[in-house]
Structures are given as structure tokens and as C-alpha cells.
């Protein structure tokens, strides 16, 4: 079956350098640096990545960071809480615009 997403493609991420090696190298070096232990631990960064992966709804990133979170020692409860943070911000960012809607409604109303 033909689909846009193929799990095997995740392993080929590095192949993007075939068409533009310099920028790909810069990106992957940067990517590697970002996820190292720093002011935040690698485990915390992986949980953030998991939450963001769900926000951008990228199946590759969800696959990769579900595994990575487990391999950094996080558990299911922590992973699901990270998703709720993403969901809360998504929901909140919709609802906080409700103030704009209210402003407009008030502007138009008697």
C-alpha cells in the first residue's frame, strides 16, 4: 500500500544530506548539541521533544521520542504528563484568543 508515511523512512533521515550536505551537517551537528545534557538533562529534553512531536503531529518524531524517552529512563506517566502540557498549551492558546473574539464582539455590539 502506498502511503505518505513509511516507518522505514525514519532511518533514512540522514539521507537529506544527499541534496544539500553543508546545511544538513550544520543541522545535525546542532541537533546533536541541543539534546546533550546541559542546564536541562537529556531526559528532560527528550520529554520536551515528545510533547513538541505531538504538537507538530510528526509520526517520525513520535516514534523516535517514545523510544528515546524510555531509553532515557522516563516512564509512561511522565510521558503522558508531557503530552498534557502540550495539550494544555494548545487548548489554552485557542481559548486565550477568546479574549480577541470578545473584544471584537464588544466592538460590534451595542
Amino acid at each position: 500500500m502506498n502511503t505518505y508515511y513509511n516507518p522505514e523512512d525514519l532511518k533514512k533521515f540522514g539521507n537529506i544530506s544527499e541534496y544539500q550536505p553543508e546545511l544538513a551537517k550544520k543541522f545535525f551537528d546542532y541537533y546533536g548539541e541541543v539534546f546533550k545534557d546541559g542546564a536541562l538533562t537529556a531526559r528532560e529534553k527528550s520529554l520536551i521533544a515528545l510533547a513538541v512531536a505531538h504538537t507538530v503531529q510528526c509520526p517520525y518524531c513520535i516514534d523516535a521520542y517514545s523510544t528515546d524517552c524510555l531509553e532515557k529512563g522516563s516512564n509512561e506517566e511522565q510521558m503522558m504528563e508531557a503530552l498534557h502540557v502540550a495539550a494544555a498549551i494548545r487548548g489554552g492558546s485557542s481559548l486565550v484568543h477568546g479574549v480577541q473574539m470578545m473584544n471584537k464582539v464588544k466592538e460590534l455590539s451595542m
Partner: protein, 349 residues
């Protein structure tokens, strides 16, 4: 849950396990061979560096039937080391300077001669490590005294605890195992195990509860120490993070869950030559319940005896020959050399 042997699973035949690992007719036939990887890293011939540990498997009987068990142990396994074979181990020890004896199983404490054996090894002045599954301590009244027995014999206790929560522990080791393990850990703490300054060592082992790799050991140890102390007031010395090797019941799990190909590929892709120089077969010999000798416990469970056909039994123990042997390797060895590497003492690179 039954052992693979009792459920007549074809993987209880080690020949079939090796066939799967060498993917004679599988899609991943193209995966490189372990010996080729060693060769290109300049690590052949693959020989021991020293021999400081005798790991003795005193029987396959166990009160648990963990899903990942590489021994295929369980209550239905009757293979048990006799006192006669134990005496042969003691004789071998007496004529060598091997410093450490690492007792494993099954649940080694279920061997009726377990306590006698530990005391005899101690009389020879050797350090004893017991791989205690914790729940055995509370499985029956007659085992409740084990913490005191361990203390009296200055035994180092190494115990599996795959996580600090019940869900992940029980999903791997069986219902109720977490609660019993916590009770047993408290009993060990009570007699001084894991307490700073007591000289009584209690180390824990983390194995992933699934088809993924262990987290970096140091951070995980900090997390375990914090969580076990906060939640249960439990202390311990070190945490060893161990990779699951694709053999026996873990191999069965990988195949049934559809994770086999990706797990093998990941093991191979993360081959680490530094880890390969520190794998446990470099410094130990493993003795089976019937006295046969192996390069490690994994080779033992694949029935790959040491490469000395005429002296592969503890009765023929010859330290010079053992030091000079070539280690038997196969595709499962990728489990020891992936990432930070893995041995019975955790990370090795």
C-alpha cells in the same frame, strides 16, 4: 506463565535459537556477523584478559517466570547442581587464585545445598556474590532468614528491579513481584545491606521492560536512589543497567511482539569496540548446573561450551588452558557490545 521448555516452544531448542540469530532464512540475513565486526575493530583473536570470577549456575529452578529470562528458568525447571558438582567447583577454586564466586540460577537459594556451598566458598576466603531475585526471601518462611545468612557470610547481594514502580516491574517479572521485592529490600536494609559504612553491599540491576535499550547508568542510578528513598525509605549501593540479550524468553518476546528485526539492527548499528574489550567473558568462566564450562551465562543458555572439547568440565579445570582459550562468539554477543556496553556489572564503556 510456563518456561519455553514446559510449553514446548521451539525456541527451547538452542539450535533453533542460533538459527534465528544467524537468520538463515530471515529478512535480516544481511546483518553483519559479530566476528566480522571484531575483526574490523582489530579485536581478533578474541581471548580472555584474565580469570578473576567463577560464575556458577546452581540450577534453573526459580519461584518466578520473568518474561525476559535468558535462563528460561521457572518453577517447572528441575535442573539443579548436586553437592558432588559443587565439591568439584570447590576443588577447582582451591587450586586457583580466582577471587570471586558469582552464584546465579534460577533462584540459587532454592538449591538445597546452597547455604553449605556459600559457607564452603567463604572458608576458601573467596568473595561471594549472590544474584538474588528478592521475592525468594519472602516466598516461604524458610527463606526469611536469608538476609541474616547473607550478612553472616559477607555475601554481596545483586538483585533485579526493573523499575521503581509496580507496573513496569510486574509487567516483566510477574504480578505482585514489585510489592514482594520492596518488602525484601526493606528486610535487607534492616540487617544493614545498602547502608553506608556497614560493609554490606546491595546492588540493583535494571533491565528494560521491553524492546528498548537501558538508559545511561549514572542518571538512572540517581533517579532510582531518589525514588526508592522517597517512596519506600529504601537504600542501596549501585545500580547496574543491563541490556537484554536476544536469547531464550527475550528472543521469544522479540519475535512474538514483532520487534526482533529492529532490535537486532539497533544492537548491530550501535556496536561499540571499547565495550567489546570489556565484556564479561574477558574475565570469567561460567559453570553450568551439571559442571560444564562456558565463556559466560549467555553461552551456557545457548549450550555453547568452551572451545576445549577434552577439558570442558569443572572436573578438568585447568587455569592455564582456560586463559589461553578462544572465546566462542555468535550473533547474541551484539547484546554485550551495544552502546555503553553491558555485563553483569552494568555499563562497560
Amino acid at each position: 506463565m510456563k518456561s519455553l521448555q514446559a510449553s514446548h516452544n521451539q525456541l527451547s531448542d538452542t539450535f533453533i535459537q542460533l538459527r534465528v540469530l544467524n537468520s538463515a532464512d530471515e529478512s535480516i540475513a544481511a546483518l553483519p556477523k559479530f566476528h566480522k565486526k571484531l575483526e574490523s575493530a582489530g579485536l581478533l583473536p578474541f581471548k580472555p584478559a584474565t580469570l578473576d570470577t567463577l560464575q556458577i549456575n546452581v540450577g534453573k529452578m526459580c519461584n518466578q517466570t520473568c518474561k525476559h529470562c535468558h535462563v528460561d528458568a521457572g518453577p517447572d525447571r528441575k535442573e539443579i547442581m548436586t553437592r558432588y558438582t559443587m565439591q568439584q567447583c570447590l576443588d577447582a577454586l582451591a587450586k586457583s587464585n580466582i577471587s570471586t564466586v558469582d552464584l546465579t540460577g534460577g533462584a540459587p537459594e532454592m538449591n538445597p545445598d546452597f547455604e553449605w556451598f556459600v559457607e564452603e566458598i567463604r572458608k576458601l576466603g573467596r568473595k561471594v556474590i549472590v544474584r538474588c531475585n528478592l521475592t525468594i526471601i519472602v516466598a516461604n518462611k524458610r527463606y526469611n532468614n536469608l538476609p541474616k545468612f547473607f550478612k553472616k557470610n559477607q555475601v554481596e547481594v545483586v538483585s533485579s528491579l526493573p523499575y521503581y514502580t509496580s507496573h513496569k516491574t510486574d509487567s516483566q517479572r510477574g504480578d505482585g513481584v514489585f510489592d514482594d521485592s520492596i518488602t525484601a529490600l526493606k528486610m535487607l536494609n534492616e540487617v544493614g545491606y545498602g547502608i553506608q559504612g556497614s560493609g554490606l553491599t546491595l546492588n540493583l540491576v535494571y533491565n528494560p521492560s521491553g524492546a528498548f535499550f537501558p538508559p545511561p547508568q549514572e542518571g538512572l542510578q540517581t533517579e532510582f536512589k531518589h525514588q526508592l528513598l522517597e517512596r519506600f525509605g529504601i537504600v542501596f549501593n549501585e545500580l547496574f543497567a543491563i541490556t537484554n540479550l536476544p536469547i531464550s524468553r527475550f528472543l521469544d518476546y522479540l519475535m512474538v511482539s514483532g520487534n526482533y528485526d529492529s532490535y537486532m539492527e539497533k544492537l548491530v548499528n550501535t556496536f561499540n569496540p571499547v565495550a567489546a574489550q570489556n565484556v564479561m567473558c574477558k574475565s570469567m568462566i561460567s559453570v553450568g548446573w551439571d559442571g560444564y564450562l562456558y565463556d559466560c551465562d549467555f553461552n551456557q543458555m545457548l549450550d555453547l561450551k568452551i572451545n576445549k572439547p577434552n577439558s570442558n568440565h569443572i572436573a578438568d579445570f585447568n587455569i592455564q588452558q582456560l586463559i589461553n582459550r578462544n572465546i566462542i562468539i555468535n550473533q547474541h554477543c551484539f547484546g554485550c557490545t551495544a552502546g555503553a556496553g553491558s555485563s553483569c556489572g552494568g555499563e562497560i564503556a
